[in-house]
Structures are given as C-alpha cells and as structure tokens.
Amino acid sequence: MTATTELHAIGQPILKQDAYLKATGNAAYAGDVRLPGTLEARVLRSPHPHARIVSIDVSAAEALPGVYAVVAGKDVPPIRIGRFIKDRHALAREKVIYVGEPVAAVAAANEEIAEQAIQLIQVEYELLPAVFDPERALAPDAPILHPDLAQYIDPGTSKRQGNMRNQVVHEVGNVEEAFNEPGLLTYEAVYRTPRQYQGFTEPHAAIAQVDGTGRITVWAATKAPFGERQSVADTLGEPVSRIRMISPVVGGDFGGKGAAFIEPIVALLARKARRPVRLALSRLEELTAMTSRASCVIRLKMGVRRDGTVTAMEGTLLYNVGGVDDSGAGGANSAGVLLGAYRIPHARVVATSAYTNSSPAGHVRAPAGPQTSFATESHMDHLAHVLGMDPLDFRIKNALGDGDTAPSGHGVLRNVGLQECIAKARDWMARELGEKGRNQGVGVALSLWALHPNPARVASAATVKIDVDGSVVVTSGVADQGGGQWTIVTQVAAEVLGVPVEMVSVIAADTEATPQEQGTGGSQTTYRVGNVVRQAATDARRKLLRFAAERLEVDEEELDVREGEIFARSDPARKVTVAQIAQAAGASSAGPIIGTGAEEREREIIEQGHERSEVVDAPSFACHVAKVFVDPETGQIDVQKYYTSQDVGRALNPLACKGQIEGGVVFGLGYALSEELLSDQGVNLNANLWEYLLPTSPHVPELTVELVEVPSTYGPFGAKGVGETANIPVAATIANAVADATGARVTQAPLTPERVLAAVSGS
C-alpha cells in the first residue's frame, strides 16, 4: 500500500464540505428554492389499476379562481420517456396501468386551491381487467399492459413480449451433466422477497421556472440531472439545450431519484402558466405512485459434493416490476448475481421481469442484490449445516478469488479482498461473540458488489480552475445525494494540487454549467468521478508547475506543491505560491490555469496490456455476522450484535466510508425485519410512515464496522465502491442467525414475527 503519511487530504476523516450548511438549516434542497410568484402544483392520479381513459374534462378546474394552468394527457406528445426502457408518459394518454399514475396536473396560487381544482377535473374511465401476480401476468390469457411493447426503446437487448418486460439467461458450464454426477447432494427451495421503499427523508420535489425566451430551468431532487433533462425535453418537445436541470442538495436517494416523474409535469405547468411552479410529493404519493424495489420469487437448486465443493446451480428469478419499469439493468439483466460471491462451474439462471398493474418498480440501493443474496446465502448456510461444515469454512472453500470470472460474467476479478474480510470477521467472532445462550443464534453471509465499477462506456468529465488567490474550483456533473461525493471531489483535487481541502470548492450537477455525468449510483461514483477529477487536477498541476519552473528557473520535475506553495525539492527555499503563479498565468498570453479530465480508464487499461472486458479491478466484498435472540413466544427477533468487515479498496474518507457502511447495514436490517410494501388489487395498503416500518433508533443493534483496504488498480488512490455492498447480505445474515437459534429456516423476507413462528412450528 502507498504511504498514507505523505497524503494530506486522501485517507483523512475530512468533514463533509456541506455539513455546516446542513447543520444550520442553510442548505437549500429543491423544495427550499424560493422564487417570486411561485405557484403550487397538485397531481390528479389514477384510482384504478387498469382502465381506458374515455374522456377528461378540465373546464371546471380551469375556471376556478386562482388556477393558472391545467395539463393532461393531451398536452404530452406520444413519445415515451423512461430512465431505461421508455415505457411511460409524464401524464397518462390513452389508459392508466397502475393506481397513482399521473393523469392531470394543476398549478394554482396556493396548495388549497390546487387541491380543490384537482377535485373538479372529471375523468371518465372504462375499467379493464387487471393482473397483479407476475406469474399470472405471464399466462397467455392475461390482460396486456403494453400492447406496443415491441416498439418501445430499450437500451437492453433482452427478450420481451406480452407482459414479459425482459428475460435473461445466464449460463456457464453444463448444468444438466453437473447435476447428474453420482453422489451429488442437491437441495432446492423457494425464497420470496418484498417490495422495499427507498425511504429517503426528503420526498421528491421540483420547481420549474421559464425565462422570457421560453427557456426552462428545473431545480429537482435528482441524482441524475442529465438523464432527467432528456425526459423533460422529450415531454416538452424542446431540444435539451432549452432545458436546464440543476440538482441542488439532495435529501437521500437510494436509487429512487434518478428518473423524471414529476419534473416533466412542473415544466409543462410552468410553460403554460408562465410562472414558476413547485411540486413536492406527499408520502402517500411516494408510496403509491413512485418506485420501490421489485419483489422477487426465487427458485434455487444447488448441487454440492460431500467434500463441500459446490458444482452446480440452477435458478429462476421472477421480478414483479409493476406497471412501468424503472429498474432496468438492476432487475432481470443481472441474472448472474444469483451466484453471489461463489465460484460455481456449472450454472443456469433464468431471470424474468413481468409487468403487472402494481406500482412501478425502480432502483433501490444495490438493485437485485438483496433479493438474490437472500436466496443464495440462505441456501449456502443450509448446505453447510447438512454437510456438518462450519459455515465460513464452507463459504471459503467455494469463494471467488483473484483470476475467477465475476458472477455477472463481464470480466476477471482482480484485487479480491474477501479473505482478509473473513479473517477479520473470525477474529471479531472469537473476541466478541461470547457464549450462545438459549434461543440465541449466530449467522454469517458474504457480499459482493462487482457489477460496477466495470469498464462501462459512461460519459464523465471534470474541469479544475485555479483562482488568483490560489483557491481551486472543480466543475463536475456529479450530484451529491448525501454520500459525500462533493467532499470526495474536493479531497482528490486538493491532494493532487497540494492545496488545503478548504481551498477547494465544487460547482456540480448543473446541466448548463458542468460537464455531462451519468448520475450518482451503482457504488461507482467515487471511482469514476474521482478519476476524472484526479485527471483534471493533474492537468492543472502540470500547467501550474510549467509556469513555476520558468519563474524559479528549475526543472519542472524538480518541483513539488505543498500547502499552496510550489518549491524545488533540492532547494525548498526556492519557492513561489500557487496564488502567485495563478496570477502570473492569468496575466500571460497562456491565460488562466484550467485543467480538464475525462474518463480515460480504457486507455489506461490498454496501456497495461489488458483487454477492457477482461478486468474487474474493484470488486467490493464483505463478510457479515449477526448474533440474534429469538423470542420463542412471539417470534420477535432481537439483533444483539452485528459485525461487518468490508473491502473498500482505499478509504478516501474513513468517516464517510464507515458512515456509508453503517447506514447500509441498518438499511438492510429494515429489509430483513420490517419493511414490506403491501398491496391489494394494486392499491398499496401501508402507503405512509406509520405502517411502512423503516428502522428507527431503538432498533439499531450494537454495530461494528471494520475496513479492509486491498486497493483497486484503476480507482482513484485505489478506491473501490462502498455504498451498496453493505445492505446486500443483511437479510440472509439474519435468516441464518435465526436458523441457528431455532433450527427453522424462514424463506420469506422480511422475517416478521408471524413468519418466524410459522417456520418454527413447521407450518
């Protein structure tokens, strides 16, 4: 590992750049943007899961005093929008396909008038047969939600027909032959996982403003302003250059703030009203009409030799993606993740997503991760038990290592830190677990997030400007949804340029002012954005040193920068400040110092003699351990101790890193124990925060997080992704601990007291 002592900004627990603003109430989120004359918007939503719209009469709403604009399906073009597959309109045109689908919207002087106006809109529906169960949706006689599905634009190339949104087959080796091996032990089970809400504390909000020339600016709670700009432009029939999207401070995302649902609506209203229009969603709307993690039914069969070698896996995944699918690649496209952290030579996984008249599915922290992990890690645990092997020994025997192909199939793993994670976990277990009493159990599970970072073709760039006082301004398209991305950007630039972190500021996530960016997520932001900022800062440093070399009459290679001073290594007395050079450069014909950087990872990979498709250089592994007490009377699970060791490559900011992992574990505990969006006939039943049970402070167990640092090859300073590895295996860890405590296996998450009691009593 490189010497940490020489770095002043990287690897330090730097306080988040915006924490002071947030602690004083001065950070402006989208819903806090105040513009004179702003109107309040409200959305009329479908009460039906599947119906044809016969007519919409908005005349009474338009006539209400204080109403400035009403829009409905007739105001949006036939072109469909979407983050991945383009399968929806901003407002329903011919029919509605889920409860809560936007049908019309109003902008009025205040929210009371807007609410009243919504009630005055007359919509005549003709009800259509609906389907809610994904298996039934795939039956030949099921009502079809998207008759024109074949014509939709979809960046994926998978199979789709009828209500089948997509189907992907992941195949390695020869499964039939492998399962026929004499003496092979096989085990088959079915696992069920719930709909999970992202649960950000800031509901979606957006405000749109039209200027005198008709150009529109939208401030929105989004982590992907560039992608959403396209949806707004398509809905308005404008070129993207006429739309400016700004992502201010965002109040949590967890996958749910990357798709344009409300932004096109406020933009339509603002254009029509010629006034700023604001919309902030209620929790009822959030939990009814917005996205949640696709529920999944997983049928899994594995074959293992008596010596503990897993040789074969056969699995099917059936995801319910609801009426429109915002989960894209996170769903069926990632069939291979069912293999988990294991080397399984013969596998066949068929992953299918089905449209149903349920609320939309979307990205939620580690798409497809928790669903598949719950099945695979529960299964592995059961097999270890049957074989009489220690659950960690059994896992180690089958675990992926350097040189193995990533389960997703897209490259060879390098820099695997799993063994160190397991070793640390074992030490902790020996030290901290203590005796196991009655009704107590210990569970383990492994986690891998290796889908990303991958050598994906994504647009990412940054500029670094050195100001005349020696301060530094970075521009980047990256949004900070709370993960500390903007802080990491300042740390990387400060480190490369040799200036204090406090001297670096960021202009970010503004489609007009910053370079294009894919959007924060996939645990790849630090890796990708950190790299382009590193490149831009290196470029600026090169220019800075060139000027300084002339002035000091020393070779460029002789120079170094520290604390804002450029000096000759051989003679530190020969020095000049960064500010002086910035001023001199600005006054010269060469102009001010600006560095640029773009994603050049492909070139780096090729220079080092690899094919781009060969390398997964930043796999993030983790080992989780839980100790639980299960109340035999009530089935209640008390998580008494929780532990995780995770390979983060290089902790650029240990404070932020641990914060991400702690948050991830508790996020996973919600999925394991209490979070489940329930629905009946397409109506979500617990669409509020008192019945949808997010983890609260009393439920947090004693939690230990340890970092492992096996550096990546190409990430900035060796960093790997962090955010998603931590929540993936929690449900399985808890289920395995419950099985250890009770001898009973719960195969449906969340592990509610009812399900635990049912499993214990064998029903």
Partner: protein, 157 residues
Amino acid sequence: MKISVPMVLNSRAQTLEVEPYWTLQRLLRDELDLTGTKEGCRTGNCGVCTILVDGRAVKSCLMLAAQAAGAEVTTIEGLARGDELHPVQTAFVEYGAIQCGYCSPGFIMAATAFLAENPRPSRDEIKDALEGNLCRCTGYIKIFEAVEAAAGALQRS
C-alpha cells in the same frame, strides 16, 4: 380571515398574521421562508420538521401556527449564536452524523431539547429519545455518538 399571533420567534418578539388552518410548519417554511425546518410527511412520523416551542421538541407539522400564540419558538436558524454553533450542531458536523442532511435540523432540535432535560443520558436513553426522528443515511450510529459528544460539551460549557 387571518388572525394575529404574537410569538417570540428565534429570539425576536413579533406578531404574525396567520390563517387559522396553517400549521407552524407552513408558517415557517412557506410564509417566513425559514426552510431549515423541513417537510417530510405532514403526519408527525418523520421528525424532519422538529422545532422548539418553549424549549420542548415539537413536530411543527402537527401544531397549528395559532397555537403558538405567546410561545417562544426556536427553529434551526435560531439555534446558533451568530457564527458560533450550538454544541449539538458542532457535534453533528464533527462526528459525521450528517449525510444527506435532510433529517439533521430535526434531529439537532430534538437532541437539544432532550439534553436540556437529561444532560447525562445513557446510549439507550438517547436511542429511545430520538425514536420520533427518521434517518435513512447514517444508520443512526454517528447520531448517537454526536449526541453523546454534545452532552459532554454541554457539561463542560
């Protein structure tokens, strides 16, 4: 018909004209632009709108503006003394208790009221006291640590 409501808001005595149906949250955010008080559910379940009314933590979405007549109301904007942060604010910044920050003003106000009542709380007491505030980013751990640190700082001050 608006009614006149006298109150001390962030140390300043004033009389505000409010609609009888406005919540305190509505008054603060939409009429006075004190947007540090957040909006998250309007049902009292998330705690992002927590403020102090006569020193007690109150979810401002559940209290009518008119009910604050004669009261001393403090929002997150009124907690620091000039540029000097309140010890609870300092601790939240320094202990990494702030990620997305949307829940932070509410947590800081709830913790401030709690520490005034219970200056030397145990970890379990902190956990119970903050049950009404949701955080999705931090897993609460660093918030507990920040409140413990703030308790120590308040003792010393």
